[in-house]
Amino acid sequence: MRGAYLILGATSAIARATARALAARGHSLTLAGRDLAELERDAADMRLRYGVDVFVTAFDAEAYDGHDDFLAQVEQQGGGLEGVVLAFGYLGEQSRAAQDFSESLAIMQRNYVGAVSILNRCAETLAVRGTGNIIAISSVAGDRGRQSNYIYGSAKGGLSVYLQGLRNAMFHRGVHVLTVKPGFVDTAMTYGMPGLFLVASPESVATRILRARDKKRNEIYAPWFWRWIMLIIRHVPETIFKRLKM
């Protein structure tokens, strides 16, 4: 069996597909999240199909004080740690967040603060051993603030910048950091949304993530063409951009 991976927020469709792809390559896994009954079903499936060890552990991104113990338990149970996939997040509702600060706070805590809390500790754990991978799912929404989702976008943007810095710091300590920015992926989060186009399957995104990990890529968009879409969006002058309805 290959090294152990920790999947944070393992019930999301991208996380599930990435976990399956890792298990198919022989990695043992710890699936962490809030919905343990659901994770047990995933774990059973991956154990049967791929013959790897799969553990299930409760994880709450906002329980910052518990993250040390959580990580120690994951390491002990899984027999070490080779990589982390951070896939939890909370889209929230922009319109509600604009009115109700508690919604804004929830979006920031679950997408940014919680991520920093757990990744700081994961990075330290991996760096001590001088090897490993951190794969974090950010979002194209973090590349430029737009009226339709700027609270979420700012939290993801913060996460993307954090990951840049972490990559820089970890490079010198042997740990690779991969930022994944999904565009439209066919998940429960996007299901039924109007205006989607060229939607990627979670499986194709997972394949791309593992390839990017193998090649030590720093930042990928999934599907790939979102790199070009976001390049254009980032370069629209602000005087024009502010007039757009996006």
Partner: protein, 448 residues
């Protein structure tokens, strides 16, 4: 997460279609009925309107496809109902286990197999899909999960197998698999000159594990019903040679070609198909010497051509599949072929199969006798009129039509063909008093 998507849907026959409100749960806890009428949909391989619910909820089960338990001593497997036969076999065959019953496509969900109580080429010995089902988890209208089996909640079990999804959402299926030494089938083909001869061959080769006949529907007169009977047995390990013998449980991945767009309807016409049929009959009918073929090619020849339903063009097609009790089967089916021939309605693919005893499912299709399936391009009124004539022949012989293929039967005809309908409705009424489960099919057939 209960995001919905409004979308025009149809069954595999592409007739009829309806705009439905779709949800696609990714968590088992989210798999339940909506506040309004709901129907579960797996791979959408029912031909007609079984998994349509116009202006109402269709619950897609495709993302709930996990294996939950497998005992490699006993071959008992428990999985979520969204698992496909393809994924099941990809898991079980390399471990030396095969499905006890499989339909003619592997692109079906286990839930769909249960709901339609599907049958395969071994029905004459092994019965319908329900014979391999040990138990089910049914999600009722109030979200309660009910285990049912032959022993536990058995009335619900027998209403659910073949019940077209109308008793609740099938969440989990526990199946008995059967051990196989190899992933290969020893097959042989036998040419039948006409329908009479085909019946004789079915009786003669009754001991074969798998049997099915392809009928040339364009052969006329004395050749009417000319067919190729295809037989198969699971190959033992010492029957393989070459590469197959080294890796007996592995098969080569077969690329699936897709039909990229709707073919023009004129492409399938009596001349092109007649020519094809004659060549096929000569070529395939001549293979009377046993040959080895992998399970994928033997059981699922049409899966090699993804979206083959697009061959029928935009208007789609109907498949008429009936079964007639053994006594009057030959007379009824030859009469049916006569009516088809005199109608001059095009019909290309025909399949004939001997069936064994009924399973016990209240609305299950198979009864002991012969089943005939005809693929008929949709032509509107002329076809619907023709099929009503078929119904009369089938009913007169005590037969019935397969609901998984049906798109046009009415409630009264259904009640004649399926005498257990009232019993089914009584159980459904007790389970689902608020009518949370319905579909276009249930409204058409007054199954509510």
């Amino acid at each position: 997460m209960s995001a919905t998507l409004n979308k025009e849907l149809s069954g595999w026959g592409r007739y009829p279609s309806a705009c439905c409100e779709l949800t696609r749960p990714e968590r088992y806890a989210e798999l339940h009925a909506a506040s309004g009428p709901s129907i579960a949909r797996g791979q959408g391989r029912a031909y007609g309107d079984a998994a349509l619910n116009a202006a109402h909820r269709v619950v897609l089960t495709e993302r709930l496809n996990r294996l939950l338990d497998f005992d490699d001593e006993s071959g008992v497997l428990r999985a979520e109902a969204g698992l496909t036969m393809q994924a099941l076999l990809a898991f079980s065959v390399p471990r030396g286990w095969f499905a006890e019953v499989t339909p003619g496509t592997k692109m079906v969900s286990l839930g769909g197999c249960v709901a339609a109580d599907v049958h395969g080429k071994n029905h004459h010995h092994d019965g319908a899909f329900s014979s391999s089902v040990l138990s089910l988890e049914l999600i009722e209208s109030d979200g309660t999960r009910m285990r049912c089996s032959r022993e536990e909640n058995s009335e619900v079990f027998w209403a659910t197998v073949g019940g077209m999804g109308l008793t609740g959402i099938i969440g989990e299926v526990t199946l008995q698999l059967k051990p196989v030494e190899t992933a290969y089938i020893r097959a042989s083909h036998h040419a039948a000159r006409n329908l009479k001869h085909a019946f004789e061959l079915f009786e003669q080769y009754d001991s074969a594990s798998y049997s099915v006949a392809w009928i040339d529907l364009l052969a006329k007169g004395k050749k009417q019903g000319r067919s190729v009977l295809m037989l198969g047995e699971h190959a033992a390990i010492d029957e393989l040679d070459g590469d197959a013998a080294n890796t007996p449980l592995q098969i080569k991945e077969r690329g699936s070609r897709r039909i990229p767009f709707d073919m023009p309807a004129w492409l399938l016409n009596p001349t092109t198909i007649g020519g094809f049929n004659t060549i096929y009959y000569r070529l395939e009918g001549g293979k009377s010497k046993t040959f080895t073929i992998d399970y994928d090619k033997f059981f699922y020849p049409l899966d090699a051509l993804g979206d083959w339903n697009r061959l029928y063009g935009k208007r789609g097609f109907l498949q008429y599949q009936c079964v007639v009790p053994r006594e009057g089967a030959f007379e009824a089916l030859s009469q049916l072929l006569d009516v088809l021939a005199s109608s001059k309605h095009p019909a290309f693919l025909g399949v004939l199969k001997k069936m064994g005893a009924a399973s016990g499912g209240l609305m299950s299709f198979p009864v002991e006798g012969y089943t005939l399936a005809l693929d008929l391009p949709f032509s509107g009124e002329p076809l619907l009129t023709l099929l009503c004539r078929f119904d009369k022949i089938v009913m007169a012989a005590g037969g019935r039509v397969y609901l998984a293929k049906d798109a046009r039967l009415d409630g009264e005809t259904l009640r004649t063909m399926y005498p257990a309908t009232e019993k089914f409705l009584q159980i459904k009424g007790e389970l689902d008093p608020g009518k949370a489960f319905s579909s276009n099919l249930s409204r058409r057939l007054e199954l509510e």
